[in-house]
Symmetry: C2
């Protein structure tokens, strides 16, 4: 049995093909890198391969998937802290992450290429005697489900406590900003930031979490989980999905209706660091909604907060969802049809020097926690910890998210009902060009 | 516009039909119980009615839905504390819960029948000036999605600090047990128990959470949220779904393959409290899985823990998923094919006087939290707070869950990888027989 079993990680013995060979071929064959009848039986069964089709999204390409890809139904995002001083170990992890992500996107049930560095410095391996490279199987036979895995780099990859960790501090993009403190931020540092980032999206949550879990266990000694967050895309059979406030979400500033010229607004060009050309920058904000408070507001007042009609999604003063915002129009009483503090006015490209953000809209629901609302009557109660995962992609956060949110944080009427509770910025490198290539190669190679 | 708008709660003025009329008719008409053009526009649009069909599960019937109903893809469960000393207020809330649940199950976009008791004693209303009865709209046009809403009663409805709160202590079923402390329990009291319970299940999470949120806001002054928990049903296009450990889950002891005689094992009969006949008892346990630890175990060892083969789901020593467990069979080395500590052996009806539990299997994923594993090497790390929502229905927990789990808690090899972190027991009354009737009527009327 074992002669048919591929050792995709090159860690189990001298007889298999080397890791490099397998990485060059760009795929893993179902199987487990150990001997023994029972595991052989697993290897017999889990070989599974899907050709490109409606439910397969490409991993390789000029840009990474999961940015302009049509939004899938589920997401799990995860950030990692690096526990190594070795540039080679980071490279090794990124190579394995990319190759496994490509295999998972095809729906292959794979061997997970466990990587154990020689000098184990953190507590994970010291306290764990056994490891396995078998696929954990919970997503087996579910199919590719349009899985995308997007890999990102935080500032901590370049600089940690001011130190150039891996000799790449000079390559840190200026666009990879440290966000300022915005008015009203109540950020949980344990749910924010991170050196590395993974965003898995797909139409089946079992497949999506399986991807995060499989990639995360490649090397917990080098890249240890910092936080994860689950989200889902609200469904609407009749058009633009509605967020948990009941309003259509994604009419503008979303990947459903992206700006015409992505090279001018989304993808990094020739201005910044060369290794980022074709990449982009992600700003993540977990935005808690005070749903109990919102639900007690009359619909006309909700509409003034948002600046749009609740049922149709049309701007106030307009009649169709996709009508342009008329920011000058006044009602019969002389006040602006779209109030000065309405979210739609303050977030519009017209009031932000044309800045747009390609946003993937996911809802989240983390149960209930004790919460003190930020606004009168400062109600303290057990409330839903639910709301929106803002995953906004842009060419330069200094020209898009930072100035837009600086104004929103001060003036937006929606602030009465929302609180930003987690935050991160990641550089999203260009895509790996094909099998054998990996995300981050343009930086490290 | 307002003459077409039904006041389903009877709270907005004298002109509408009384609440009792509406409840008797058993449905709410889309609309908002306030005057005004913008809200009138909402009322025009949100009227929506679905006839019974593939995606509508009945609310009314001898038994409540959501027990033997084919498991839907998503669930949100919620428990409530009662903040009232008035039996009449509890009845009022239960009437409204039932009527709204029936409307939501049909996919109607409804007015939420807000109930404000005369004597407001808790902090919720004191600090909230405005309320609205409009549907929050986030699930509008998504469809019924096989929504079921199941209502349950905790021990606290009958006795609170030893006091007969509502004059019904004598009607408390003996089956509604206080669970003993089981070995290894690490229960969070803030995520456990409750006076009232709601289980919403459906094939769309937006619809499911909308149901909980709509019902919960009927009267936060009387029934305040205590905890909520989101879960999902793993998909498997090729048979029994796999839980997060990668093993098929639901081969026995599940609603997918229920016992033949439900009247002997599931539904309350003539032995106990008469008002519970046709009802059942739910034991809820949130079971965290140490997935990082599990993933490091070789497959043959995982199979010994479970007592089944990972790929096929067949019992060890058998060849098909649905083979009967052969608890006497021994391997060539003389040891039992299914080890003495295997989960399948210890949970099997054969080793528990035939006791079976009708279980709905949902996974949950609450992100990552710091955790100390209960077993050597007692690893402390940031780990997934993910695992399984055990929702087990049975005629009498004293004959099913309690004895079964007492043995499992001590002997099950699976305990090395699982921790029970939340717990509750609820009486699930019989179904409401039809429009105008309500869950709990057999107890209170």
């Amino acid at each position: 049995m074992t002669e048919h079993v591929q050792d995709s990680a090159g860690t189990a013995g001298p007889s298999g093909p080397s890791r490099r060979d397998v990485l060059r071929r760009g795929m893993f064959i179902g199987g487990a890198a150990v001997a023994g009848g029972a595991v052989g039986a697993v290897a017999d069964h889990i070989a599974e391969h899907h050709d490109a089709g409606d439910d397969v999204e490409p991993f390789y390409g000029a840009h990474q998937g999961g940015v302009v890809t049509n939004t899938q139904q589920h997401t799990v995002i995860a950030a990692f802290d690096l526990h190594t001083t070795s540039r080679g170990e980071v490279v090794e992890v990124l190579r394995r992450w990319s190759a496994l992500a490509a295999a998972l996107a095809r729906g292959d049930s794979t061997t997970v290429p466990i990587y154990t560095p020689k000098d184990v410095s953190n507590a994970y391996s010291k306290t764990t005697q056994v490891s396995t490279t078998s696929d954990s199987l919970e997503a087996w036979q579910v199919g590719p489900s349009r899985l995308t895995v997007t890999i990102g780099f935080g500032r901590g990859l370049f600089l940690s406590d001011g130190k150039d960790r891996f000799g790449i501090a000079g390559a840190m993009p200026d666009e990879l900003v440290e966000l300022p403190h915005f008015a009203g931020d109540e950020l949980d540092p344990d749910q924010s930031d991170g050196d590395l980032f993974l965003q898995a999206c797909g139409d089946d949550l079992q497949v999506v979490f399986h991807a995060i879990r499989s990639i995360a266990r490649i090397s917990p000694d080098v890249a240890a989980l910092r936080w994860t967050q689950v989200g889902y895309s609200p469904s609407n059979k009749a058009g633009t999905p509605r967020n948990l406030m009941g309003f259509k979400d994604g009419t503008i500033n979303s990947n459903a209706h992206p700006p015409a010229d992505l090279d001018a607004t989304l993808w990094a060009g020739s201005d910044g660091q060369g290794w980022m050309r074709g990449g982009t920058y992600l700003v993540y904000r977990r935005i808690r909604m005070s749903l109990e408070h919102w639900d007690r507001l009359q619909v006309p007042d909700q509409e003034k907060v948002i600046g749009r009609q609740k049922v149709s999604g049309a701007p106030l003063g307009g009649s169709d969802e996709f009508d342009a915002l008329d920011l000058t129009k006044r009602g019969s009483d002389g006040t602006p049809a779209i109030p000065a503090t309405a979210h739609a006015r303050l977030a519009a490209p017209e009031t932000n020097n044309g800045a747009v953000i390609v946003r993937r809209a996911f809802a989240y629901n983390n149960g209930t926690t004790q919460f003190t609302e930020r606004w009168p009557p400062w109600r303290q109660a057990l409330e839903y910890d639910a709301g929106l995962l803002f995953l906004g992609y842009q060419q330069d956060p200094r020209k898009a998210f930072v100035p837009i949110n600086s104004r929103l944080a001060i003036n937006d009427a929606l602030n009465q009902f929302t609180t930003h509770t987690a935050s991160a910025v990641f550089a999203i490198p260009p895509g790996a060009s094909g099998p054998g290539h990996w995300v981050g190669e343009t930086l490290f190679a």
